[in-house]
């Protein structure tokens, strides 16, 4: 384009800078309206229908037996995740090692424990006592140094934790392995060129970078396991789902009791989702030029940039209107 000035279309446009008119989005407002109506209908249906039995829900939500069942669910989840990810990390490192046997054993483990349904695995562990009466440690096919009755070693709680953790480890192994694979190979090369010891390369250079990929997937797994612990009810262990079943079998308020369980699961996953957000921020250091703002920051910024200027503009407009009525174009 040439450097000559743009020819004005009308004489008035030449005098002023063109004003930006914001685009209007009427359909966004229509869609917002429809969704609001649907939301109101849903809330109405939840509150006004007496079949939901809200008074019963209120009565049992913090009932001691329900609270202790929820705590047991948390306990099972925590043990399952911690043990699962510990074993999973070992499996992932085995899989990534240069030793053929370790690689194939890790692969085989993941194959086996991902293939058999969790509920079946749990029942196997539960019935281990029938399968092996004695568990002994010693030379394979040779003498045993130490034997223990399997019933004593593996009670129902241990069986549940073992089942959840071993199953979880198979998934965790793949998540951890994926995390390590996502790290730029140049990072390892740089670490090797600097002579950084192998263990330190893994812990200080690879793992923190791998965590960026691992955390979101692990968050999924933890939340999945919170709910997944409910299959333990088949072992008659007093976790949340089993406990509400016990109660509704006694009082007959099925829907209300299921709602109690649902609210607890919601609360637990909400806490975990928030925790995940902050853990992700922690491992995001150095990845973005600036860390993304937290919701709190965002709310503050919204108030500062959107609401405050509008208020100020309104105040200014009122002041201007009171002062004078003319004055559009420059003299």
């Amino acid at each position: 384009m040439s450097t000559t000035a743009v020819t004005p279309t009308t004489p008035t446009a030449a005098a002023e800078e063109p004003r930006v008119v914001k685009a209007r989005h009427p359909w966004r407002w229509v869609a917002t309206g429809i969704v609001l109506v649907l939301l109101a209908m849903a809330v109405n249906a939840l509150i006004t229908n007496p079949a939901w039995d809200w008074p019963v829900v209120r009565e049992y939500l913090f009932h001691p037996s329900v609270v202790s069942a929820a705590l047991f669910t948390v306990e099972l989840t925590a043990l399952g995740i911690v043990l699962g990810f510990l074993l999973g990390t070992v499996l992932a490192l085995m899989r990534l090692s240069r030793v053929p046997l370790l690689t194939s054993v890790a692969w085989g483990y993941v194959w086996l424990f991902r293939s058999v349904p969790l509920i079946l695995q749990l029942l196997f562990w539960y019935n281990l006592g029938a399968l092996y009466r004695q568990i002994s440690f010693g030379i394979p096919f040779g003498p045993a140094f130490y034997s223990v009755d399997s019933m004593d070693l593996i009670g129902p709680v241990t069986a549940a934790v073992l089942g959840l953790a071993l199953h979880q480890a198979a998934y965790a192994a793949e998540i951890v392995r994926g995390g390590f694979l996502s790290v730029d190979p140049g990072q390892l090369e740089a670490a090797a060129a600097l002579g950084i010891p192998r263990r330190r390369q893994i812990l200080r250079i690879q793992l923190p970078q791998a965590m960026r990929t691992i955390v979101p997937a692990a968050g999924n797994e933890i939340i999945g396991l919170v709910k997944g612990t409910s299959v333990v009810y088949i072992m008659a262990l007093p976790e949340l789902f089993y406990q509400v079943q016990v109660i509704y079998n006694r009082n007959g308020r099925v829907i209300a009791m299921l709602l109690v369980a649902a609210i607890w699961y919601l609360a637990l996953t909400t806490v975990l989702s928030i925790a995940q957000y902050y853990v992700e921020r922690r491992f995001g250091r150095g990845m973005a030029r600036e860390l993304p703002p937290t919701p709190l920051h965002r709310a503050r910024r919204f108030a500062a940039t959107r609401i405050a200027p509008r208020l100020a503009a309104r105040r200014a407009a009122q002041g201007a209107a009171a002062e004078t009525s003319g004055g559009g174009g420059a003299p």
Partner: protein, 254 residues
Amino acid sequence: MSRPMVEMRGVHKSYGPLHVLRGVDLRVDPGEVTVIIGPSGSGKSTLLRCVNHLEKIDRGHVTIDGEYIGYRRSGNRLYELREREILRQRTNIGFVFQSFNLFPHLTVLENVIEAPLSAQRRPRDEVERLAVELLAQVGLSDKVHAYPRQLSGGQQQRVAIARALALRPKVVLFDEPTSALDPELVGEVLEVMKELARSGTTMIVVTHEIGFAREVADTVVFLDEGRVIEQGPPAQVLDAPRHERTRAFLGKVR
């Protein structure tokens, strides 16, 4: 003649059927700057990566200050070293990558002090003092606590140079250190490298910057198809090349 700082003898390296290095001999004396030039695919980067054993060589040997790299010599045998020992040897060899390869989750200072602390187990206060000094030398005193992604390419490469120097290496290898940089950022990195060369650091530089080679190099090596075609002082190799292939290459680069 003094003992060479770096010596390569009859080095061969193949990737599968691809014979990249076909018997390379190279000698770099202490305090010398050797610049390796050559067309892409000639094996320049591979040669450099063989010096610090990032690539295992198939035949021949590499010594640094008389020490076999990747092997221990006993009588007439070379025993392969284990990873831990190779890692220790690498602390004598600085390496600067084309793509910087700074650790993005660590600050500039943490990047520089990591290897001296964990690989050489030197005391933290000494290492930190040295790191701050080195960062000042490369003109980044104000970026000590920044993260790599907050820096320009030229600044990142200067951090990478400081990181390599923090090991107090006997030789520093540069693998096309300015090839990934925007043209206006090349100068600042070359300036740091010139300063290093003046201070008597032994350097091997793979580069396409002929001007840098002419100004700084003691020896220019022209590599083609995995062989050293000719080598000598820049005035000879760059301005009066004896070999046809060198002339052809220089004709294209200029």
